[in-house]
Symmetry: C3
């Protein structure tokens, strides 16, 4: 997961912070203890990449080769824990709304970054020919951490329930994989990642949802 | 998972359709959206094989080498989704009973097929000597998709609760692995698969259940 | 997981029995049937090692190379099942308290044994240089079985909720990995394992808990 140019490094950092925060908040709301908060936060941040590496047999997984993102997730979680602990009314106040809006955008950035990084890792591991595989690995890198978070927290995975979340990742992954054969790699990566962010932000703003088979519609 | 002779291909197709349908129905009943229905349906159909390939380090996993079964599961789920969406009373009507009876038999066929395919894959990957491993892999190929479905849907895995489900798979796996050393491979495979189907159908018909440690008995 | 000297073999046996029992008791309390009890019991006992082997690509995983611990877990579970079934009041009586006290100590021994075995396996597989990885693998070998048990049983993983459980494993893992570079391997292993047991026993005795971010404190 070594960043190849600095812009990309920055958006991966933003994504890691956002994912770690989302895991930590789920744990805090469930009143898990410090360790639970750390585990859920770090799992959300690096779990998607871990699943990807397990599926393609990357040994040892990237999170262990360069623990930078694990450390970043860890410190994010610790800071969040300390802030909430020393100012518990923060969870009910108006600042939480602002926080969630900012985090939603950060989370979209993370989803975009992780999706294209997942595809990139798969291609670098020599699976560029398997189009379905690389798209799947991009999506699992993007949404896998959140799935693990929700399974461990005992709630139906968010990705199965709401707001065009995995769909944004799938669309960006297909776009990136498709563009790769026609244009410069970095440009394709940026377009893929940005399209994920755009779809997510629009979906949240306008409450887009996929249809369900019964009732609600 | 390439089928070696056409009969076997047909029963794998039947199994895939049944497993995908069972995942999709769980998602529909939980009112998940279209993506949730697709993810649970496809996971149920190919998740067992994915777990098997992860355990024995088959890279990339069979579902990516030949996406036929993923596509088949996808289209099965889409058709089911469209049918339910356009005729919602179908979930309450009498036709659902017939549907569930047919699907139970299809599901038994799938369990049988996937169990022996799992063993076959393990042997072809060179683990024929590890008897416990190949039986385990046969069973995990058969029941793993359903376990992933239930974990993602937040319910206690069906396989842990009812009706001689995993037991049928275990019995068939042991039978196939045992017969392999004495008779022709294809014959052993058919006998193994059929015994799974037979045990499942009889267990459902006569409500066989394993004992529990407390109360109910 | 072959034991290298007999003391170590004994504590691994104790750990396997304790872990298998804890899984079986969860299943019995959830009124799962015999198969559910066996699956949860065996998963708790060997699941941590399986996760470790999947992450570092040990193929086939240790539990299949030497099924001794699987068999031991299986017989432990069967005996427990038979005892509870033939004397159901045992679950309410005073003997259950003694049983739980003994099992808590056994469980601490298991946690200590599995943690250092996990690190050892990682080092033998050639990952001694990756300090974070070997500590992680030690902890996952120690707590992974319990996490799988709780996910399958549909409850928030125990390790995320209570009593300095994973923390004991983490502390012992760091201690073992740190000492390894300075003192004899067997001595380091013993000290690492004993420190896990000590922390766990003290934590249970004095109800140590990690802080939570909200309310309780």
């Amino acid at each position: 997961m070594k960043a190849e140019f600095s812009l990309f490094f920055i958006i991966e950092v933003i994504g890691t912070i956002a994912f770690a925060s989302s895991g930590a908040m789920v744990a805090i709301k469930k009143q898990l203890d410090l360790l639970g908060v750390v585990v859920l936060g770090v799992t959300t941040a690096v779990g998607g990449g871990l699943l990807r590496d397990i599926i393609i047999g990357n040994v040892p997984p990237a999170m262990f080769q360069d623990p930078l993102y694990v450390l970043l997730a860890f410190f994010t979680v610790m800071i969040l824990f300390i802030i909430v602990r020393h100012n518990q009314r923060i969870l009910a106040g108006r600042s939480i709304e602002t926080y969630e809006k900012v985090m939603n955008i950060f989370d979209a950035v993370g989803l975009g970054a992780f999706t294209v990084v997942g595809i990139d890792t798969a291609i670098l591991s020599g699976y560029g020919e398997y189009h379905f595989l690389i798209i799947f690995l991009g999506v699992i890198t993007g949404v896998g951490g959140g799935i693990l978070r929700d399974i461990m927290a005992g709630q139906t995975p968010y990705v199965l329930r709401k707001h065009i979340y995995a769909c944004a990742s799938i669309a960006g992954a297909i776009l990136y994989a498709g563009l790769l054969e026609h244009i410069n790699g970095n440009a394709a990566m940026l377009i893929g990642a940005c399209s994920v962010v755009l779809i997510r932000v629009l979906a949240t703003r306008f409450c887009w949802n996929l249809p369900t088979a019964t009732q609600k519609n």
